[in-house]
Structures are given as structure tokens and as C-alpha cells.
Amino acid sequence: MAKKPQKAAPKGNQKGYVLAWVIAGIIILFTPSTVFLLVIGMAPTLVAFFIVDRHPLKYTSRTVGYLNFAGCLPYALDLWENGGIWDFERLVEIVSDPFSLLVMYSTAAVGWVILFLTPPVVAAYLSVTYEMKEKRFKARQEELVESWGRNVRHGASEMDGEEEPDRVDDVGAKASDGNAAG
């Protein structure tokens, strides 16, 4: 699939990035163990954000990141409760525990699962709604023709400057052609 050309980031966004890095720097300075925990625990999110996700709004990164963060949070809380923000021993204990990593990465995996499952569901939903809309529109056009006669169709085509009006029946045929191409 062709990639959409990336638009140049507006200047407002650039300022936001700078601010974010500044805040990140401050956080790293004052909570290094938590940051390291999150870096390690949210590696899937980082991969998604920097490598996989090309969308400007970063939906993929959000989907993985939210759940990934939820998986890292208990361990961050544990770190804060038991070791403090400067306790790197507890950090090492946590990150060297396979179960901890499993939990953190599993939540990220759930995010990926959601990301992969949702579009087909949405596609199916759209298909149904398109069909319903099409039926509704056609029914309404038939109602209009029933009430106002064929001249309403001719009048509409004259307004569009067309010699022959679009027949309502042709709409379904074009829709099925579109599905085949997708």
C-alpha cells in the first residue's frame, strides 16, 4: 500500500516535542529507576512508536502503550513502595524476574491483539452500515419518486448537468466492485 506523504510537522508541534524532551530530562534526573523500569518494561511501546507506527496520530503506539503502561504500573508502584526512586537494587530484581517481564510485555501484546482484531470488526461494521445506508437512501429516493414522479429524478440530473441521471440500481453494482478491489 502506498504510504501517504508525511506532512511537515507544524511549528507548534515542534515546540511540544522540545518541551516533552525537557520534561523527560527532568523526570529522568529525578526518577531514574522508574524511568529505567519503564524503558525496559515499555520496550514494545517504544518499538511501536519509533519503528512501526507511521501514522501522524500514532494510534498504534497509543493502543500498545496504554496497556503496556498498565502492565508496568504495578511494578513501578512496587519500586516506589519498597525501594524508593533511587533504589536500583529493587529495579534489577524486578527486571530480572521473568514473570515481571512477562506481565509487562503481555499487556503490550494485548494491545497488539486489540490493534489487529479491531479493523476487521470495524470493516464488518462498516459493511453493514454501508448496506443499511444504501438501502435507506434508495428507499428514500423511491419514496420521492413515488410522491413526486420521475420528474424529480430528471430534475436532479438536470441540476447536475448530466444527460442521463444516475440510476439508483447502479449504486449497488459500484459498491461491490469497490469491495473486490479492497
Binding site: 486489540i114 479493523p119 444504501e134 429516493q141 436532479a156 444516475d166 459500484k174 479492497g182
Partner: protein, 667 residues
């Protein structure tokens, strides 16, 4: 098959017996039938059923009602009835039945000649009283002849003069009983006439009673006229009769071809009362010293020559243009006035230098007292209206009339008269106006309008209502209601004749109502215009009455107009409302349903909105098609959004759970 009724009612006052004709009282073309007054069966009356194709002299009825002389058949009432033998409506006149028989059933009859004293006592004296009344009212009878005379029972057997209004003036008169000028005109174009014409008829009738037969018996009309032209009326009519000096005086006076010298009513009154004088020899027209030969006939007088020219119209131009006639007038006739008149007649502009125009003018110059003659159109000026009424639809008559007006022949004729005819001033004005109206082709104009303007009492000639004998605007809608009831195949409500009749009789028009009848651009406008017009007539009537059959017919004819409405429900609603409104018989209600501009505009506005909605939906469908084609990308995009939301929601739940657990376990 339903049996025809044997009795017909007039105004619920008279009953006329259809199966009891009274031919003894016919005044052809009118036919007499037995009649009875509903409340007074002793009254001896007859009903004269008039020919519906001929105009009845309704305008004289009010004048006749002022005449209280027992020697005139008394008109009691009149009306229009459904007449089964004709299968249509006919005008009817109710007269008192004369006590005695008709003097002559047919003018070809012979009977025992009457004594002079009897004639004077029983005919001339009563006739004088009648004709004096007519003279005082400035009207003429124009139907005096022995076959229209009845022996009366009043005052010792004096004769009663019969009906004079059932047919156009003098139209039923034989050539013998009419002056020369009247004979020269078409019977329909003889005109209303003057008292002098009645005096002539009186004279011929006296002669008939004197001799026991009509003069010139066995001669054709043309022979009678030619005899009068060559010998004068007195000479031609009395040629083989022996007449006493007393009678000769009266006959010479009454049969004088110069109507200025002809005896008047006062003259006959004095004669009846015993004044006697010498018979006056009629001054004959000047004769030429040598004849003018034309069409193998030798002519010595201008009048005879003019008559031959009229009878040989197309050949007459030769003697006019080649100068032979001019030479004869100057050398043989020696009448300077005639020569000048003839030269003046030929003096026309280049545009008007047409054969027919020249011939007509020259004939007037040669014989100014004759009627206007233009090819086969021969009528006195007063007779023009009736000629148009009877023959106006004929192309020849219409063309002749148009050309007479175009060439100004009426003005020329008037200028040729020895005296200005003040009594014709109004008619001249109407005829001049007719010239303009004839050239217009719009509904309500044209020759049809001229016919009704010149003949106010003429029944409408439209084939739609002709059989209903519509003579005024009040009887139009009842006639159309009957038409609607009987006829299934009425295609239009107002034709040219009806439009002209309405324009001439209905004063409530503002001008625009008739214009829309001719609208070709909008197919619905003519029928709507017709119904608007009839509705206006209905609402302006003295007593507004519903006409259910007409309403239903109008509603049926208006059915196609629902196609103006786009919306089907509106169409159905309007169609149903139209049927209901039509059934009320009030055309205004029908129009308020079908001719409501607000509904039309509202429907149009809503239709435009529907068109725009249809177009909008079409565009949306196109968009759907496009979206279907891009469904993969859309679902991915949307799916990513939805998944991030789901993830967020799941995260929030998880966070809440974590916080809760942490809180609980720490406590």
C-alpha cells in the same frame, strides 16, 4: 323509447298542444299551435312557434305592448320552450286568436273580389289606425299582405293585421308586396324599413282585395321587379285591372316608387275619412333619348341599367372602364347631376381601384335609392345586421362585408342620398367600429363579435348552445348545464361564437378574461380561462344558481390540470376536491380548488426541495460507492482509532483495579 310530451308549458302560464297545429294561423316560417292559459281556459289564444334559425324581432315587443288597437293581432306573451317536434328550444309568441279566417291562405289563391266600400271600411280604416300607431312609435310592420290578414270578429268584421315579429322584417314578403328597393335586396337584407314601406304593402294589399288575386300572378320575382322598373309599380301591378278613380287615387299614392312622394299614414287617414283628390301621376325617372344596350337589353333609365349591371356583375366593369357608359350618360341622358355622380363614383384612389369597388359605386351613382350591392351581397344599410346574422359565417358574405367597409362604400352611399339619414347615424358608427373589430382574431372579436354587436337580440349561434336558443346572458348557463347533461363528448366550453356572445352581452368583463382563451403556451390556461369566465357570469347573475351538470363537466375537463402539481398526494387531493366542488354546481368553488396559486406555488417549492433532496441522496450514494472502494483504508484508519480508544478504556479499568488493590492491601 320515451313518448314525446304532447303539451309544452311556457312560464307555467300557458300550455301549448304539440299535437294540435293550427295551420290557418301560420305565419310562415312560424307555425301556429293551439294554446291554453293555465288559469283561464276561456281565453282564445294561439302559440306561434318561430323558426329558431331566424332572428325574432324581440326589440319590438315593448313597443307593440303600447299599441292598444283591436285591428292588430295582440301579443300576450313570449318565451322560449323545449319544442319536441324540432328536438330543441324554439321561441314562441302567444297571440290572441283572431275571430275569423285568414283572407288568403296562399298568395296564389283567388277569391271573390271585395267591394271598395268593404275594403275601405274593413281593411283600410283599421289598417290606418294600426299603421298610425306604428308611425308614432317609429316602427314598421313589414309583413302586411293578404296572407297575414284575418277577418276579425271585433267591431263588425274588420280585418286584423297579423304577426310581424316572428321573422326578420319583410323577409317573408313576396316581391309583389314590397317596394322596388326592397325587392332589389336579399330578403334577409331588406332592413327594418320605414312607414313608407308599410304604405306600399298596404297599397298592394288593397289592390289584391280589389281584384281577388295577387297582382302579377304567375310572374317570377325577377319578372315582377323588371316590370316595376320599366313601368313603375302602379303600372306593373295594375296593368290588367280596372280600378275606379277613388281607388286609383289611393293606389297611385301608395304605390308611388318615390318614397318621398308616396302617401303617408296621414294621407291614407284623410282618404279614409272621405277626402278625395285627383290621382297623382308618379314622376318617372328621366329617360334617355336613346337606349344603352348591355347584355342584349336596351336600357333607357339608369335604374334599369344599374339593375342589369348588378345581375351581370363581372361584365359590368367593361362598360365602366371603356367609357361607353359615361358617353351615354352625357349624351343620351343629359342629366348633369347623374354624370357628375358617375364621375365621382369612378374617382377612387389607386389602392381602391378594384373592379368590385368601382361597380358598386357606379351602381349607387346610377340608382342612389337602391340598396348597397356588392357582388351577391345586396342589402339596405339597415339590413346589414340581419344579413350578417344569417350569412355572416359564409366566406362570401364575410368578404363582401369586409370589402364594403374597407372601400367606404357605406359612406359613399350615404353621401349619395338626397338627405342625410339621421336615423342611421348610430348604425353607421356601429358599422365603422365593425370594420376594426372584424380584423381582430382574438376570442371575443372578429366577425362573430360584429354579428352580436349589430344584432343584440340574436340567439347565440355557437354549435354548443345553438339548440338551446340563448338570447341573453342569463340563459347561457342553464343552456350549458343542459349541454353538459346530454353530451358526453364536450371538448371545450367556449368557442369563438360563445366568446363573442359573452363579450357583446356581459358587461362584467375587464378585458383579460377572454385573452387567456387563446393562450397556446400553457395547455391548461384556455380551459381555466373558460371556466373563470363562466364562473364570473354565474356569480354576477341576479340570482346565483348552482349548475350541477355544468360543474361536473367542468371538473372533468379540468382533470388534466392536476398534472400541474408534482406531488401525487396533492394531485389526488385536488382531484377529489375538484369532483366534490364540481358537484356543488358552483364554478367559483371549483376554481378555488383548482386555480389556487398558493397551492401551485407551494407544490412547486416543495418539488424543488424534493429535487434537491434527491440530488443530495444521489451524491451520498456516490460517496458510499467511493467509500466502499476505500473500505480497507477506512476500516484500518477507523480501526486504529477504535483500538486506541478500547485500549485506553481497558487501561483505565486496569489502573483503577491496580489502585484499588494497592489501597486495600496497604490498609
Amino acid at each position: 323509447m320515451a313518448k314525446s310530451p304532447t303539451r309544452v308549458s311556457l312560464r307555467d302560464r300557458y300550455e301549448i298542444s304539440v299535437d294540435e297545429p293550427l295551420p290557418a294561423y301560420d305565419n310562415l316560417p312560424g307555425m301556429a299551435f293551439k294554446a291554453q292559459h293555465v288559469r283561464d281556459s276561456n281565453r282564445d289564444i294561439i302559440a306561434l312557434i318561430c323558426d329558431p334559425k331566424l332572428p325574432v324581432r324581440f326589440e319590438m315587443i315593448s313597443d307593440l305592448s303600447e299599441i292598444d288597437v283591436p285591428y292588430l293581432m295582440q301579443l300576450q306573451d313570449w318565451g322560449v320552450v323545449d319544442w319536441p317536434p324540432e328536438g330543441r328550444r324554439c321561441p314562441v309568441l302567444i297571440y290572441d286568436r283572431p275571430a275569423g279566417d285568414r283572407i288568403m291562405t296562399s298568395l296564389d289563391e283567388e277569391f271573390e273580389p271585395m267591394r271598395e266600400e268593404e275594403i275601405i271600411e274593413n281593411f283600410v280604416a283599421p289598417a290606418y289606425q294600426v299603421l298610425r300607431e306604428f308611425r308614432d312609435l317609429d316602427i314598421a310592420h313589414r309583413a302586411i299582405r293578404p296572407s297575414n290578414l284575418y277577418r276579425g270578429g271585433a267591431e263588425g268584421g274588420r280585418f286584423i293585421i297579423g304577426d310581424c315579429i316572428s321573422s326578420p322584417p319583410a323577409m317573408a314578403q313576396s316581391f309583389v308586396y314590397e317596394p322596388i328597393e326592397s325587392c332589389m335586396a336579399n330578403p334577409a337584407g331588406r332592413g327594418i324599413g320605414i312607414s313608407s314601406d308599410d304604405m306600399y304593402s298596404l297599397g298592394v294589399t288593397i289592390l289584391t282585395l280589389l281584384t281577388g288575386h295577387s297582382p302579377c300572378k304567375g310572374m317570377s320575382d325577377e319578372e315582377v321587379l323588371e316590370a316595376k322598373l320599366s313601368k313603375g309599380s302602379y303600372g306593373a301591378l295594375t296593368q290588367s285591372s280596372r280600378v275606379s278613380l277613388t281607388m286609383m287615387e289611393a293606389l297611385r299614392g301608395l304605390l308611388n316608387d318615390d318614397h318621398d312622394e308616396r302617401w303617408t299614414v296621414d294621407d291614407i287617414g284623410m282618404w279614409v275619412n272621405g277626402r278625395r283628390g285627383s290621382p297623382v301621376q308618379q314622376s318617372m325617372e328621366s329617360r334617355a333619348s336613346r337606349s344603352f344596350s348591355f347584355m342584349n337589353i336596351d336600357h333607357f333609365t339608369c335604374r334599369e341599367l344599374a339593375h342589369t349591371m348588378v345581375n351581370n356583375w363581372s361584365r359590368s366593369i367593361n362598360i365602366i372602364r371603356d367609357g361607353t357608359l359615361d358617353t351615354w350618360l352625357r349624351r343620351a341622358l343629359g342629366d348633369d347631376a347623374k354624370v357628375n355622380a358617375f364621375n365621382d363614383a369612378k374617382n377612387v384612389s389607386e389602392v381602391d381601384d378594384e373592379d368590385d369597388n368601382l361597380i358598386a359605386r357606379c351602381c349607387i351613382a346610377l340608382d342612389p335609392s337602391a340598396p348597397i350591392r356588392f357582388r351577391d351581397f345586396k342589402a339596405t344599410v339597415e339590413g346589414f345586421p340581419n344579413m350578417l346574422a344569417l350569412y355572416g359565417e359564409s366566406g362570401d358574405t364575410k368578404n363582401a362585408f369586409a370589402q364594403i367597409l374597407q372601400y367606404g362604400i357605406i359612406d359613399y352611399w350615404d353621401a349619395s342620398q338626397p338627405r342625410t339619414r339621421i336615423d342611421l347615424v348610430t348604425l353607421y358608427r356601429d358599422l365603422k367600429r365593425a370594420r376594426e373589430v372584424m380584423t381582430r382574431t382574438a376570442s371575443g372579436e372578429g366577425v362573430e363579435r360584429v354579428i352580436y354587436d349589430l344584432n343584440p337580440a340574436l340567439a347565440c349561434l355557437s354549435p354548443l348552445v345553438e339548440e338551446y336558443y340563448v338570447i341573453d346572458i342569463d340563459s347561457l348557463l342553464p343552456a350549458m348545464d343542459s349541454l353538459a347533461e346530454k353530451s358526453d363528448d364536450v371538448r371545450f366550453l367556449i368557442d369563438r361564437h360563445l366568446a363573442a356572445f359573452i363579450a357583446a352581452h356581459f358587461s362584467g368583463l375587464r378585458g383579460s378574461e377572454l385573452r387567456d382563451l387563446d393562450n397556446q403556451a400553457d395547455p391548461y390556461l384556455p380551459i381555466l380561462a373558460a371556466i373563470r369566465l363562466l364562473s364570473l357570469i354565474q356569480e354576477r347573475a341576479t340570482r346565483v344558481k348552482p349548475y350541477v351538470n355544468l360543474g361536473k363537466l367542468a371538473a372533468k375537463m379540468l382533470e388534466p390540470t392536476v398534472k400541474r402539481y408534482h406531488n401525487r398526494q396533492t394531485r389526488e387531493r385536488i382531484a377529489s376536491a375538484m369532483k366534490e366542488a364540481g358537484a356543488t354546481g358552483r364554478l367559483s368553488e371549483l376554481l378555488s380548488v383548482t386555480d389556487n396559486y398558493q397551492i401551485v406555488e407551494d407544490d412547486e417549492r416543495r418539488f424543488q426541495m424534493a429535487v434537491m433532496e434527491y440530488r443530495d441522496i444521489t451524491n451520498r450514494l456516490r460517496q458510499l460507492v467511493s467509500d466502499q472502494g476505500n473500505r480497507g483504508a477506512i476500516s484500518r484508519e477507523l480501526g486504529a482509532q477504535v483500538s486506541s480508544v478500547l485500549s485506553g478504556v481497558a487501561t483505565m479499568i486496569a489502573l483503577l483495579a491496580i489502585v484499588l488493590v494497592t489501597f486495600l492491601t496497604s490498609g
